[in-house]
C-alpha cells in the first residue's frame, strides 16, 4: 500500500529588519494582490511583495507597543485603495490606507483615478506578464516595489484613524468577508464589532456591539461567510471555549453557540473552505428538496496541543417552548437569533507537543497546515474512509501528510497560512505555498512537493524534513 505524502521545501525568506524582533502573524491580501502584511513586535506592520519576497512598504508610527494582528479589508468595490486594520498591545486598533499605485491614499482624488482592484484572478495574473498567450497586451505595472533602503518607504501607508475602546491589549482583528464589519478582541474579555459608516474612506466608525461573555482574554476572531442568514463571528479564548456571535434583524448581537472541549487556550480558529465542503458532501443529499444552507465546519488550534474539527449538529427542538395552545397573550418578544448546536466531530492526529498557535485550511486543496511552540510545520489531509451506508454519510479520516521540524530553527512559530504563489519560480498559476512567521522575526515561504511513499506495515510514515535556516534559497540577498 502506498500513500501520498508531501515534502516541505524552503523557497525564500522575506528579509527582516536589521534587528528583528518577534513577528506575530502574516496575512496575505485576500483580493489576489501579491502582498502579505506581517505584524511585529517592532510596533510596525511590514508589507512584503509575494513576487520577489522583498519588503514592499511599512506601516509605522501608529502604535506604541507590539502590533499583534493585522487584517486586510476585503475589496468589494473598486476604489483603488488598500485598507488594513492593525491591532496592538497598546489597546488600540489603527486603520491604514494606501493607494494602489504607491502614493498615500488621497481620498479626495480617488474618484478620478483609474480603477485597479478587480476581484478577479485573471486581472491579477496579468501583472508584469509580457504578452499573454491569448494575445493580451501587457498592462502597465501598477504595484511599485520599494526597496528596503528607500527613505520614504513608510510614507505611502497613511495612518487614517485610531479606534479606541478596549481596556487592554488587542489580540486579533478581522474584517467580515463582506467587508461590512470589523471585529476586534482583547485581553479585556470583550469582542467589539465595528462598522464603517458613511462613504468609504470617510473614516467614520461606529461600535455596533460589545460582546462580553467570555470569562478571560479573547485570543482570536474569525468570520463565517454569510450563508443567507448573515455573517457569524467565532471567537476563541483563554477560557478554553469558542463562542459564536451574530446580529439579529434589529442589529442586536448575541452569543448563539458555545463550543466546549478544549483543555487549554484556543489560539486560532479557521473556517472550512468551499473546496472541502464540496468534496465530502454526499451528492445524493444535495437535491432540490434540501434547502438547508451548507454550514462550513470549524477548526480550532489550542494550547492543549490538539486541533479539533467542529460541525453543526442538527438543531434540537428548543427546550421548554411554550405550547401553541396555552398562550393566550400574543408575545411581543422577537425570537432571538436561532442558537446553533455544535459538536466536536474529529481531532486531527497529534503531532505537536507544545501549544499550537496557528492552523490554516487551504482554499485550493482542503489540506490543513499547523504550527506552534515546537517549531514544527505539519500538513494534514482529510481522506474518505467509506460510507456508513449506501448513499449515507461519507466517513473521513485525517492523516498526516508531512512534518517539517525546525521551521524557524529553534524558535517558536506563531503563524502559518496557505498563500498563492506569485514568484517567478512557481510551477503553475494556482500553485500554493505556506508562509510561516516566527519568534525570530522571520517570515518564510515553503513549497509543497507531493510524492508517493510506500507504507511500512500498513502504517503511514510521515516524512521529516529539516528546515535549517541556512538552506540556500532563491531569494535575492
Amino acid at each position: 500500500m502506498a500513500s501520498l505524502e508531501v515534502r516541505i521545501h524552503a523557497i525564500a525568506e522575506f528579509k527582516p529588519s536589521a534587528f528583528p524582533d518577534r513577528a506575530w502573524v502574516s496575512v496575505p491580501n485576500p483580493n489576489n494582490i501579491p502582498l502579505i502584511a506581517t505584524a511585529t513586535a517592532e510596533k510596525s506592520v511590514r508589507v512584503y511583495s509575494l513576487k520577489n519576497f522583498t519588503l514592499h512598504s511599512k506601516m509605522e508610527g501608529g502604535h506604541n507597543r507590539s502590533v499583534r494582528s493585522v487584517a486586510w479589508k476585503p475589496v468589494t468595490k473598486n476604489t483603488g485603495v488598500l485598507t488594513v486594520a492593525s491591532g496592538s498591545f497598546d489597546s488600540t486598533m489603527a486603520i491604514w490606507r494606501r493607494r494602489e499605485d504607491g502614493s498615500s491614499a488621497d481620498l479626495n482624488g480617488r474618484e478620478e483615478e483609474e480603477i485597479f482592484i478587480e476581484n478577479n484572478v485573471e486581472e491579477e495574473e496579468e501583472l508584469e506578464i509580457e504578452i499573454g498567450s491569448d494575445g493580451k497586451p501587457k498592462p502597465r505595472p501598477r504595484l511599485i516595489t520599494r526597496t528596503t533602503d528607500s527613505d520614504d518607504e513608510n510614507e505611502d501607508w497613511a495612518f487614517e484613524i485610531v479606534l479606541e475602546g478596549h481596556d487592554s491589549e488587542i489580540k486579533d482583528v478581522a474584517y467580515s468577508p463582506s467587508g461590512q464589519w470589523l471585529a476586534s478582541c482583547s485581553r479585556d474579555k470583550s469582542i467589539w464589532i465595528w462598522e464603517e459608516i458613511g462613504e468609504e474612506g470617510e473614516d467614520d466608525f461606529e461600535t455596533i456591539a460589545v460582546l462580553q461573555e467570555h470569562t478571560a482574554d479573547v485570543k482570536c476572531v474569525s468570520w463565517r461567510k454569510d450563508d443567507g442568514n448573515g455573517e457569524v463571528v467565532a471567537s476563541g479564548s483563554y477560557d478554553d471555549t469558542i463562542r459564536f456571535w451574530k446580529g439579529d434583524d434589529e442589529g442586536e448581537w448575541s452569543c448563539i453557540s458555545v463550543l466546549e472541549g478544549h483543555e487549554g487556550t484556543v489560539w486560532k480558529l479557521e473556517w472550512e473552505p468551499e473546496v472541502s465542503m464540496k468534496r465530502f458532501s454526499p451528492e445524493e443529499e444535495a437535491k432540490e428538496d434540501d434547502h438547508e444552507p451548507k454550514i462550513p465546519r470549524l477548526l480550532s488550534a489550542s494550547a492543549d496541543c490538539t486541533i479539533r474539527v467542529w460541525s453543526r449538529a442538527p438543531t434540537p427542538p428548543p427546550p421548554n417552548k411554550p405550547s401553541y395552545f396555552n398562550s393566550g397573550i400574543p408575545s411581543t418578544m422577537r425570537p432571538p437569533p436561532a442558537n446553533e448546536t455544535w459538536e466536536c466531530t474529529a481531532t486531527l492526529p497529534k503531532v505537536h507537543d507544545l501549544p499550537i498557535y496557528s492552523v490554516s485550511w487551504s482554499p485550493k486543496t482542503g489540506r490543513v497546515v499547523s504550527a506552534g511552540g515546537d517549531s514544527k510545520i505539519v500538513i494534514y489531509e482529510e481522506r474518505t474512509k467509506g460510507r456508513t451506508a449506501v448513499g449515507g454519510k461519507i466517513e473521513t479520516e485525517w492523516v498526516v501528510m508531512g512534518v517539517l521540524e525546525s521551521g524557524h530553527g529553534p524558535w517558536e512559530i506563531n503563524h502559518v497560512v496557505w498563500c498563492k504563489r506569485f514568484d517567478a519560480g512557481r510551477k503553475s498559476e494556482d500553485e500554493e505555498m505556506i508562509i510561516s512567521t516566527g519568534d525570530d522575526g522571520a517570515v518564510r515561504a515553503w513549497a509543497i512537493e507531493e510524492f508517493v511513499a510506500p507504507a511500512e506495515n500498513g502504517v503511514t510514515v510521515p516524512v521529516v524534513a529539516e528546515g535549517t535556516p541556512g538552506t540556500k534559497v532563491a531569494s535575492s540577498s
Binding site: R22, D374, E405, W411, G470
Partner: protein, 201 residues
Amino acid sequence: MLDNENPTILSVSELPTRRDRRQRKDQPKKDSIRDKLYGTPDWEMNPYYTLAYSDADSDDTNLEPIDEQEIYDLIAPICDPEHPLSLESLGVVKLQDVHLISPLDPAKPAALSRVLVELTPTVSHCSLATVIGLGVRVRLEKALPPSFRVEVKIKKDTHGQAEEVNKQLADKERVAAALENKSLMGILRKMMQPCIEPQYQ
C-alpha cells in the same frame, strides 16, 4: 503591605551552588558558559546565532551541556519583589525543583530542551507569585539558548491560585505584553539586579 513579614531565610552557605565565589573574581573567564550567559547573549541580537552555535560549536568538547545546577544558578540570585532577599535564600527556588529534559540526540538541530521550574511561594496567598514566576521565566528565556522551552509553575499544594498563575505564566502572549508594561518592567529590573551586577566583591 507585605504578604509575608517574617519569611524563613535559609543560610546562604548551605545552599547548593557550583560557584566558587572567591575564585570567580580572579578567574572570571573560567566559567565559560555562564559568563557568556550573563553578558548580552549573541542570540538576543542575532536570530541565527543558533545556527553557528550548533554547527560550529558542536564539536567543541569543552562545552559542557547546560544542567539543572546551571539553570538554578541563573535564577537563584533573583531578588524577591518585597524583601531584599534572593529567591534562593527564601526557599522559593530549590535545586531539586529544577527539572531539565535534554533532547536524546543533542546533535540534531531540531532538538529542543525542556525546562520546568517549580516555585514554592513563601506563603500560600502570596499575591506576588505571578510576578516572581514571570521574573524566573523571563530570566531563563533571556539567558538560555532559544532551543530551551521554559515552563514555570507553582509547586503543587503551595498556593491557593496555583492553576491561574500557571496558566498565565505559560501564555507567551501575556508574557510578551507584560514585558511592554513599564511599571512591571521596573519591578522586574529591580528583581534581576543581583543577576546582572557582579555580586560577590
